[in-house]
């Protein structure tokens, strides 16, 4: 079962929820935590995993053998990203623009193009306190996080409880991370910014046909419009975490909530129970 933890707005507590959920479940279940926020991965700060394996994530980019090339220009014509340009006696490749689709090498009539890997990031796997862990890191200066996210997700073991920490926003990295999840937890805060971005996130999960529920963090900080919205839209609010300076302090030190305030463990086990109920009710409906 894959549960992704997303939010729209940044800084609402995705990492707090993802790590707490994983730590609360790991004693009774086999749990895997995948940090798919490859631009700014933070789960490792809290979980301090032992890294046992590391692999480079590469995009296959074209390399042109100019001895074979006739400068026909088919490759440049086919490239949707303008990553290859052909002049009368010269070919230029722009590695940063290439998405690695492979069209140029396949279509080259002279078979003059081979592909070489260009490293854009790394995926590290390991374990932390009895659960499996993996995260991706996009290299600084690189623009395309999705291939790194795909690689992190390839580590998912569906027989286990897989918890995916997602980056903020609603665009391609978020879609790539949430896609194929069984359930998506949307973490928000009760403020106008939180609500605005929650509404966008809800639209995104609907588009992906993934069921969702909401966690309200820092409850009491703003207004009641997030709750009103959830009620109106029939989105279940599964957990409320109050604004608490103690939680903020624990978090700022890179300690997990479960370690700092173990009384929260029961709440997260309850949260998982509610997710299971929703999933069971849903599969019951589908069977009928």
């Amino acid at each position: 079962m894959i549960i992704s933890v997303a939010s729209g707005k940044g800084g609402t507590g995705k990492t707090l929820v993802a790590t707490s959920l994983a730590l609360s479940l790991k004693d009774k279940h086999e749990v895997q935590l995948l940090d798919c926020d490859v631009e700014e991965p933070n789960d490792h700060i809290f979980l301090k995993p032992v890294i046992t394996g590391s692999e480079a994530v590469c995009i296959p980019i074209p390399e042109v053998d100019e001895k074979k090339c006739t400068y026909c220009g088919k490759c440049a014509e086919a490239c949707a990203y303008h990553a290859i340009a052909v002049f009368t006696k010269h070919v230029l490749v722009f590695p940063n623009l290439c998405h690695g689709c492979g069209a140029c090498s396949y279509l080259c009539p002279e078979k003059a193009i081979t592909e070489v890997g260009r490293e854009i990031g790394v995926v590290e796997c390991g374990h932390s306190d009895g659960m499996e862990f993996a995260h991706g890191k996009l290299n600084v200066g690189e623009a395309m996080p999705t291939p790194v996210i795909r690689r992190v997700k390839s580590k998912a073991n569906r027989d286990w409880i897989v918890i995916i920490d997602v980056s903020p926003g609603t665009s391609c990295p978020v879609v790539e991370s949430i896609k194929d999840s069984d359930f998506c937890l949307l973490v928000t805060e009760p403020t106008p910014f939180g609500l605005n971005d929650l509404m966008l996130a809800v639209e995104t999960v609907k588009e992906l046909e993934v069921s969702c529920g909401v966690v309200i963090n820092r409850a009491g900080v703003g207004d009641r419009k997030v709750e009103e919205y959830c009620l109106r839209e029939g989105i279940p609010v599964l957990l409320t975490i109050p604004l608490d300076t103690e939680i903020a302090r624990i978090n700022s030190r890179g300690r997990t909530l479960i370690e700092g305030m173990p009384q929260w463990k029961e709440s997260f086990i309850g949260l998982f129970g509610q997710i299971q109920e929703i999933m069971n009710a849903r599969s019951g409906c589908l069977k009928r």
Partner: protein
Amino acid sequence: MQEVVVLSGKGGTGKTSIVGSFAALAKSKVLVDCDVDAATLHLLLQPAIREKHEFWSGQVAVINAERCTQCGLCQEQCRFAAIKDINIDTISCEGCGFCSHICPAEAITMKENMAGHWFISDSRYGSLVHARLGIAQENSGKLVALVRQQARQMAEKSEANYIISDGPPGIGCPVISSLSGANLALLVTEPTLSGIHDLERVLGVCYHFSVPALVCINKYDINEDNTRQIEKFCLGQGVEVAVRIPFDNTVTKAMVAGLPVVEYSRNGVSHQIEALWELVSKSLTK
């Protein structure tokens, strides 16, 4: 005319609240929201939309079922797993067009994709250029480039002194698109280990694109040991820490009221943000 972009790496550190206040403090500027997939600056500035434009970008493959012979070549060759049972999954399709080039039955065409909208709006603080990327759309970097280009044109026309840009979180494509060619990056961080970790990475992006940076520590009193650690790190990097802003719930109250915090309340937070704008504008005119 000088452009400052406000970034943070980690989300939720207070970028938009600071930009909203800059909008109230700065004279002669154009505002731009480069967080195109979760824009919120308009919630503080409450602008009236003057122009709305469609953003067309990229393509999606379409299979003509009548022509298709179900040979499966497209599915076999697609590197993005966007074709399943000879059907295009439009969310996974990256628009590379490989399939359309190789289909032996010429059954696949590429269709232009409407990826969102962008707006020019009037607020009582001046013009705002902002956008909304369509749900589950790609090409946020291109949309960011477009809103920045519009803001630049407007600033040139009106001879504005500044472009003030609210950036997206992260370090990937929309961040790079917001940053490249800007005159200054203001990095808003918070004294948590996550905040520090993410600051280091976004500062790396500033170095990579040779944009000078200035740091501001928001909610500095949540953990003063970490605040000192950030200051030490910045000193080592030769990056100035402009101001420390205390944690104060009036920032949220101002947000609920739909106002920049400097207009909502005259307290410590407002004074620090004023001092910050002072330093930012000074750095820009240097």
